[in-house]
Amino acid sequence: MPSWLHQLIDALVTGVAQGAMIALVALGYSMVYGVLKLINFAHSEVFMLSAYLGLFAIMALGGEAHPFLAGVGGTLLAMFAAAIIGMTVERIGYRPLRKKGKGPLARVTPLVTALGVSVFLQNLAQLLFTAAPKPYPQLIPAGSSVALGSFHLAKSRLIIFVAAIVVMLLLNWIVKKTWFGKAMRALSSNEEAARLMGINTSRVISTTFALGSGLAALGAVLFCLDQSQATPTMGTKIGTYAFVAAVLGGIGNITGALLGGLLIGVLGEMLKLTSYSGGVEVIVFLVLIAVLLWRPAGLLGSTRAEKV
């Protein structure tokens, strides 16, 4: 096999894993938008906080001494804690506004609050954890890989991809088949009517935030285990990409978030092979604009009412 083809496939694999991770975060934006028509800018900071929580949980469970227990246990603990943070943010930041505001500004006020919560959480993290990056323990040893023919697929990439797919299938099942999913979709199409039909809308919204935040936490821990260290500003970049992925795929649409994430991930990695590697962001955003001009609702977005 020629080396350029080898490199191309390598980049593709990396891009798919990167994209799957972006998709995990994108789902949170998408689901909240689906039920509330709110862009939850604080989501990227929940992602950042869960990276720290995951780090502390992993260290408490033994870190590199017990990689499997610490990895799985730490991830679950971080997801649980993130779910609580997400619900708290909704409870304190958005619910009171939703109860009060029915006027013409009902959409704008929560948006501003979301920005405020985001700035607050980022600065809080800087105070609590300092600005210095905290390196993650290497639970998946660097360089360990699974041979696939002549390819060596990094284990961490494989884990990310499998975890993302499993979680997304699970989510799809929740939204399509369970009572909660039905309630969520009902809420999305008409909040007033859903309430009249006996759905506890506050509880459904709370659960949506918990679910989205839990997914972001999974993304955060996988992200850090694969390539990173936790920093108070890490949410901004991945949050922007995830938000773009959600919009690109059609905000409110779960499959769309996955598609958008994969597209951005793969596109980014492919560009790194060219001499335009420094301008990845420029090109990613150009693609976003082009797609939106062509399909204003995103790739899989519909202009119909139901969006979850």
């Binding site: 080396s3 490199q7 390539q227 790194k272 092979l273 420094g278």
Partner: protein, 382 residues
Amino acid sequence: MSLSRRLFISATVVTALAIASGTGCKSKSDEIVVGAYLSLSGPDSTFGTDTREGVELALEEVNAAGGIKGKKVKVLYEDDKSTTQEATNKVQQLIDRDGAVAILGEVASSRSMAGGLVCNKKKVPMVTPSSTAVEVTKGRDYVFRVCFTDAQQGDVAARFVHDTLKKTKVAVLYVAQDTYSSGLAETFKASFTKLGGQIVVDKGYPKGETNFTTFLNDIKAQNPESIFVPVYYNDMVQIARQAKGAGIEGSAFVGGDGWDSSNLIEGAGDLLEGAYFTNHYAPDVPWQNSQTFVASFKKKTGHDPSSLSAQGYDAAKLLFDAMGRASEVTPQKIQEALAATKDFAGATGTLTIDKDHNANKPIVVVQVKNKKFAYSTQLLSQ
């Protein structure tokens, strides 16, 4: 509360504050006021706090020795919150409100450029401890530095890789949108090709990138003998970890002073065993002044000084030295004394201020050895 009453109270408070700041901060006749603007909070807060520790030690020493011309020196610190806008504001405040005769700061070149612009306009001398971008002092009569420039550093790194390590095929990986990183990469590439070396891979990456696998696979495919990565330490931790995955030896990496942090050792010390980087200083550098500085710093703070602390110390020391040499303690005379600095013995080497107000001094090469930074060699900038 009625409006008039509210107005009255706020007017009183404002007046009180004005009086307090007027009497509290204006330089008293028995004190010399020096202003320092640093990033004491925000993403670069360690830059500011490390530098302040060095300045504090220099201040303690000068006042213990009786001050300057019989007067005690006072340093007023202002926090620019790691932003350029605040840097401009704080420097203006320090000069106009507090009457500082000289200014110390900043670490990041972008903020030193902003603060330097104000100092130059108001004709108050400024000494930056650690801003390496060439533009910081260019065409600014009142701005000085005690560190080397990116141009000097990139050139020394190229000569070190080519002449000392004897490598001729090199890959370069840097942050495309960062002045420091891309500037260093540019001068390295220019000097290295001039020496007869070959750049086989030349990759810039966007700021904030965390996934380097594709770049590293690309570099690995070209099989370079050495990889020059002039980036900050947090990026380097990630690059080192992912390089192992791509099958690249950590010892192949060469970096710049952006690597200098205990976080690099903590996050990737074992992976980078044998790697080199150019720096201002190393804790075990065999210079008398450095060793004295390290000892007194440790006694005062209880930990090893970072290079930023050493440079903060040198910047303050040089400024105090120039104040002592100046015929009178006015901004104009201090500026003249600073410009005339020759063979000043600092903790980061003996330096002479050249006509562009840059410091000519030896550049240290540090090696990562047994999860520690160890002095390797020194090269003179040309």
